[in-house]
Symmetry: C2
Amino acid sequence: MAETLDKRRTSEHARDLGIYDEDGFVDADFLDRLRSLVKAEKAAALIEMVEPLHESELGDILETLDAEPRQNLVRLLGNSFDYAALTEVDEAIRLAIVEAMPNQQIAEALGELDSDDAVYILEDIEEEDRKEILAALPFKERIRLRRSLEYPEESAGRRMQTEYISVPPYWSVGQTIDYMREDEDLPTSFAQIFVVDPTLKLIGAVELDRILRAKRPEKIEDIMHDTRHAIPAEMDQEEAAQIIEQYDLLSAAVVDADERLVGVLTIDDVIDIVQAEAEEDIKRLGGVGDEEISDTVMTAVRSRFTWLLVNLATAILASMVIGLYDATIQQMVALAVLMPIVASMGGNAGTQTMTVAVRALASRDIDLRNAGRIIRRESLIGLLNGVLFALIIGIVAALWFQSLGIGGVIAAAMVINMLAAALAGILIPLVLDNLGADPALASGTFVTTVTDVVGFFAFLGLAGWWFGLG
Amino acid sequence: MAETLDKRRTSEHARDLGIYDEDGFVDADFLDRLRSLVKAEKAAALIEMVEPLHESELGDILETLDAEPRQNLVRLLGNSFDYAALTEVDEAIRLAIVEAMPNQQIAEALGELDSDDAVYILEDIEEEDRKEILAALPFKERIRLRRSLEYPEESAGRRMQTEYISVPPYWSVGQTIDYMREDEDLPTSFAQIFVVDPTLKLIGAVELDRILRAKRPEKIEDIMHDTRHAIPAEMDQEEAAQIIEQYDLLSAAVVDADERLVGVLTIDDVIDIVQAEAEEDIKRLGGVGDEEISDTVMTAVRSRFTWLLVNLATAILASMVIGLYDATIQQMVALAVLMPIVASMGGNAGTQTMTVAVRALASRDIDLRNAGRIIRRESLIGLLNGVLFALIIGIVAALWFQSLGIGGVIAAAMVINMLAAALAGILIPLVLDNLGADPALASGTFVTTVTDVVGFFAFLGLAGWWFGLG
């Protein structure tokens, strides 16, 4: 992604306000001005500076500031603070800001937000505070938010917006348009309206452009279409996002267990979900779980420790393989010098195959049924690259240690380990996925364990046998 | 991503058609029926089976079939084949299908697609065929597609849709609605209309819900808003996606160098771009470049070879460090047994830091200016985990080889290498990014080179000095 980031966020709006520099970072001058206003406690000037900003821009500023000026900025902005910006920052920062506020103030702020943003902020707040905040909300909003919060974490019900427009099927287009003109309690923007029966059961939807193109006397039921992609509120947000994405929908109705309309999931939420899930995959492949850059040092140490501990266990296992051949190594130290090459090449080749496999699994391009084809493919790639690198390292090692035998042994070990890497790289993610585990989370360790163990075994074992050592 | 994939694609529509099994894969029975119809050349039955499918569902089927039945299916479907499905499959499959078709047929097919889909298919076709196809298109479409193709690859101009609605600012809401009711040449669906002056320069936009809520006599110029986020056609698609994403837009106007409206970029394209860019990052971090699962074995071998060759060079470098201490190892073989542990732990810790750094760079959370804070953070994490693992491995090694000296040496080497890993993990991506290189592509090799070299140096060097060997 990074290659093009240099020219990021150069939209006219942002350029006019001078928030971002040409590299897409929050502009240094802008920040300096902001910081000195905060220091001088000039609330009015700050409000004037921050008011025209989009919530995402204010979010970027909050993430860039240190904790102290950040809290002071929020305090000085007071009622002018755009609470929607809280949905644009890391969890740790969001919590720090919210915890410094009296619950009464949070309740007032939430009342002004869309319900999905309000839920997003509420769900991280501790049980007790949450109850107090909900109690301080007007009845209608309290009911809405409470219902959303009752759905499981990361479900469509948590991410949906409860503001939507629904009309009965027998209304005319004219009636519907008049209703939209007059009702003040409408969502801030919307792309379709829903059609429900008297029990609120969802029976259809109409896109706005379809309404605009219809004549006023036409009946809604004649221009509506079935909502074939209605999303159960209990559905995982990722699945819901995949449906909206697959069928290129602008929004989708969310329904409860009785197929009653309870909310709407919009495509901009889908983008956030897609981003978050891709981020999760990358972090899991890199062994850092759900860590965020704003987490405290102790949180980061703890989350990384587990992964490193697993790696230590597998590294010790690989060492024990070497330990089996200590007599062999003592008689030929060249083996100790060369052995990490075989293991390292296997590890990299295995990671390549694993990356392809994890991605193919995520997009449902492979499964156990068509695994035969993909296993043959990866084995062939492993074999071919194995032979190529066997030739290269064989020649290099033979020249380096002036021994054809060493060149032959490392070449043979290389072919074996590259094949093992291909098989481990494809089979381990497949099996993990089939067991219901996340292949992105665990495959890496297992794959490199295999390539280390096979690499050391093959190289040291072959050498011991060939040279009659040990 | 994978943990929840099990329940994927269970939308009512797909369930009714029976295309997907409960794991979200193309259903085996469905495929079997399809394959036997293809084999029996029953075109009519096939058309009946495939016609109700969404383009993305047909795309999934094309990706699941082997080359021969796939080509036969497309041939048997004839004019009933939904060409939009071509935008849903891997490049290799798309090219195979298109190359088997006469250019005249492709031209007819493209005429029925939205312009962005047509460009997507055209841009991969070879120059000569492309010219012939364009020549066979009606004048208006030829001009449109040619203009899109003149913009750079992966630019907003390539991804935009050239079907949009634009009206002059002095029109009334009523006039605009009547125009939309009568004009047949409209985009299939749209969320906003654009306002242009007589020279086609963009001056504003109005969302459909705003039009619906306005009274018929109101003037468009009174309800339109500035298009503060208009996107230059030359802009990279990723930047454009980031603007649409940051400001939660449903679509954005694309303008040429003279600020004339030339197209519209819609949010469903943005999702595809976000997906593609995340996929690219994951693959680059895994060392498989732009490889797709449908690439041929030779393409995959070639693309992976380069990365493995770089890794071989760095592995040899690490071996040369070991080579410096061959006499030390000969006197104490335990060192050869233990040395991969230090290197491996450093490699993993470095990868963790690097993953956090690459993600933070991609989302502009860090840069060289605030690097101090992040470098201190990562060093502290590295130091703390270094001390923890030094204790663990120190005790394990001391017990294993019955030597306090060995335990002390490996513990000290572990602290040093974990610190080096933290510094390499943060500094290498920062420097690469600052040089304009993609940190996702190259950081991995450099980081593990540092941790291998420092790991072997620290451990073998300390051991040689402590035990007076070498």
